[in-house]
């Protein structure tokens, strides 16, 4: 990918809200927990919101690092591997009870939600996203 800063931020919001939102909707009922489905949805969507909000800050870091690259690109693999640092940060905040999840989220459940959201959104931006939004890849990831 060859994102601009504006494109990064727009893509992050759009993809996590739309694609991430659908993934969380589908995955949450599969989690093993004693909490009600309503409480579980609250917890998983709070996790998703945390990934989104923190991700906007992360995008500034990535954009800075991208400036060291001659091509000013962001290799496909980077998009996958940055899930590690982002996931760890959200988990640390979750463990510290900073996030208003309402109910506790086990490590296993967090891993299922986060990894599935990350993988699906990563796959989506590296291919199918180009189909409906035909100008997106030529505008550094900007949708508007």
């Amino acid at each position: 990918m060859v994102p601009t800063l504006g494109g990064r931020l727009q893509t992050r919001v759009f993809v996590l809200v739309v694609v991430g939102g659908l993934v969380v909707l589908a995955v949450t009922p599969l989690l093993v927990s004693g909490a009600s489905i309503g409480d579980l949805y609250q917890a998983t969507y709070v996790v998703l919101a945390a990934v989104l909000v923190l991700g906007l800050a992360w995008e500034f870091v990535y954009h800075f690092l991208q400036q060291f690259r001659w091509e000013k690109d962001w290799p496909t693999m980077f998009g996958l591997l940055t899930g590690i640092n982002e996931g760890l940060l959200v988990w640390v905040l979750l463990s510290a009870d900073v996030l208003p999840t309402g109910t506790s989220v086990s490590g296993g459940n967090f891993l299922i939600v986060f990894v599935s959201v990350w993988l699906v959104t990563w796959l989506w931006v590296n291919g199918p996203m180009r189909v409906p939004w035909i100008r997106w890849r030529f505008r550094g990831g900007r949708l508007v």
Binding site: V2, W70, E71, M77, G127, R130, V131, I134, F138
Partner: protein, 529 residues
């Protein structure tokens, strides 16, 4: 410049300036001298007129991707004509890649998602190669490569044959053949009252020629490279001696060189530090390994790159062993990221400056080539020389060539059996008849790099004619608000801009989310449009 100074393509005609007298395509002097034609003027000339709203001149990949976009945007084939001397859009491209040692089975220098047969870039060539593979290893290899490029693997690039096969499928799907009119275009003129006339000269069945004027609201010019020039010293040698055997351009057929290498020890001098030099070197070394040729390679660099280079830590390109390394023709963000956004805002000298910064000859960093050249250096059959060639001549005994090279240490004489010019010097746009005509008669101007000046929408500046618009894409427009014009993806970006501009003025529909998705689904199922 004479025709002998540019590389000739199989179907090529004489370049600009070589028409007989003032009579281009047999048109009257009155017509040729007139910048804006009236319908009456053309009627008096007796040239039949065909009305079609959109005419694309050239018929190569630039025309093809533009027409592909328009067809997907809903323009019927009856509204489009492609005026071309080519049998199929990738004919010139396939010829040039073939002679410069990228036959169908070899890989191009093009990104996985640069798919001229598919405006969406999805599925990419790597994914298609994975699905078409007959083994698990064959499926995983391209996917692994796009996943790990360019950090742990070289950039994935498709095989030439895969691209040509895919282009053929799309060619059939959009009914491209029925839009083509075979012949040669040398003249385009603005029309009084709006639009343009484009004169096509066809060969008639009787052996003569027949002219037709296409009258349309829009004309699109995508004629490819104006021409490829020989290095002046090599041109001088060829003109003096008539020797076209030992001094060749990489874009000319030069198979005789490889054949002769199999029969005796030869020294080959390679000129240039770009992808073509890399490909020729690979062929020489592959032949050395396969047939046991005893080739000695002297690689002559005008500028020797010894390491990473650039004005700051934020603008440093890798380099080494003489080469500047870069995945593709331009830094990747030229096709959609920061560089594209930046260039779009620059004018005049600032734009030319940025072009200079990102320009310069370069080649991809490929592990195979690194290994081959390292072996050549250690075994002593590959060496580099830096300097400027002052003269090329025959040696004293006349059996070999001799290059006089000046560098920091002084002047050295290099003996050689063959010289391969891999510099890929491009001729001025005025060397091309149609482009010269646009500059001389249609109000077109030059951009900061001396090529055809186009707007961000790829409309040719100065050529608007009433409600008509003229567009251009491809190499002729290099130096505009978008770099990377002479590439697969660049042609698609140009096509998208043109299509969007045409949609704004109501010629076609703008491709929105729904149309894009539904048309992609038709593409997947190979449904004709």
């Amino acid at each position: 410049m004479s025709g002998s100074e540019t590389v000739r393509l199989p179907y090529a005609e004489a370049p600009a300036g070589h028409q007989a007298g003032g009579d281009s395509q047999g048109l009257s002097d009155e017509l040729l001298a007139t910048d804006v034609w009236t319908d009456e003027l053309l009627e008096r000339s007796g040239v039949p007129v065909v009305d079609v709203p959109f005419v694309s001149v050239g018929g190569g990949i630039g025309s093809f991707v533009t027409v592909d976009y328009l067809r997907i945007a809903g323009v019927p084939s009856s509204q489009i004509r492609v005026l071309t001397p080519l049998e199929y859009p990738w004919e010139t491209y396939e010829y040039l890649t073939g002679v410069s040692q990228i036959p169908r089975g070899e890989r191009l220098r093009s990104d996985s998602a640069s798919t001229p047969d598919n405006i969406w870039g999805f599925p990419s060539y790597a994914v298609r190669e994975a699905f078409a593979a007959r083994s698990l290893r064959g499926s995983l290899a391209p996917l692994w490569q796009v996943l790990t490029e360019p950090i742990f693997a070289d950039y994935y690039t498709p095989r030439a044959g895969q691209v040509f096969t895919a282009l053929q499928r799309e060619y059939d799907r959009i009914g491209y053949a029925e839009m083509c009119e075979r012949g040669v275009v040398r003249t385009v003129r603005r029309r009084q009252g709006g639009g343009y006339f484009t004169i096509l000269t066809r060969k008639s069945p009787s052996g003569g020629t027949r002219r037709v004027a296409f009258r349309g609201q829009f004309v699109h010019v995508a004629v490819g490279y104006p021409g490829l020039k020989y290095l002046p010293d090599l041109q001088d040698y060829r003109l003096r001696t008539g020797d076209h055997h030992r001094v060749v351009n990489a874009y000319e057929p030069h198979e005789h060189l490889y054949q002769e290498l199999r029969s005796r020890q030869c020294t080959v001098v390679i000129r240039g530090g770009g992808i073509v030099a890399s490909r020729i070197l690979q062929r020489l070394i592959d032949d050395r390994d396969r047939y046991g040729t005893d080739v000695r390679i002297v690689h002559l660099f005008r500028t020797f790159i010894s390491g990473s280079h650039g004005p700051s830590i934020f603008m440093r390109r890798r380099g080494g062993d003489g080469w500047a390394y870069q995945g593709f023709n331009y830094p990747k963000s030229a096709w959609g990221g920061q560089l594209k956004a930046k260039m779009r805002k620059l004018e005049g000298g600032d734009r030319a400056e940025l072009y200079k910064l990102i320009g310069g000859t370069n080649t991809p960093h490929r592990r195979l080539w690194m290994r081959q050249l390292a072996r050549g250096r250690s075994e002593g059959w590959y060496r580099t020389v830096t300097g400027e060639v002052e003269k090329v001549g025959a040696s004293v005994d006349g059996k070999t060539l001799s290059l006089r090279v000046r560098n920091a240490e002084g002047v050295i004489e290099l003996p050689a059996d063959f010289i391969v010019d891999c510099t890929g010097l491009e001729a001025d746009i005025a060397e091309h008849r149609v482009l010269k005509d646009l500059l001389d008669h249609c109000g077109a101007q030059r951009n900061p790099l001396g090529r055809l000046d186009v707007e961000r929408s790829f409309e040719v500046r100065g050529m608007r004619s009433g409600n008509g618009r003229a567009y251009a894409s491809g190499a002729a427009t290099l130096g505009g608000y978008f770099p990377g014009v002479d590439t697969f993806l660049g042609l698609q970006i140009s096509a998208q801009e043109i299509c969007d501009d045409l949609a704004r003025i109501g010629f076609c529909r703008r491709i929105g989310v729904w149309r894009s998705t539904s048309q992609w689904w038709r593409w997947v199922r190979n449904r004709r449009i």
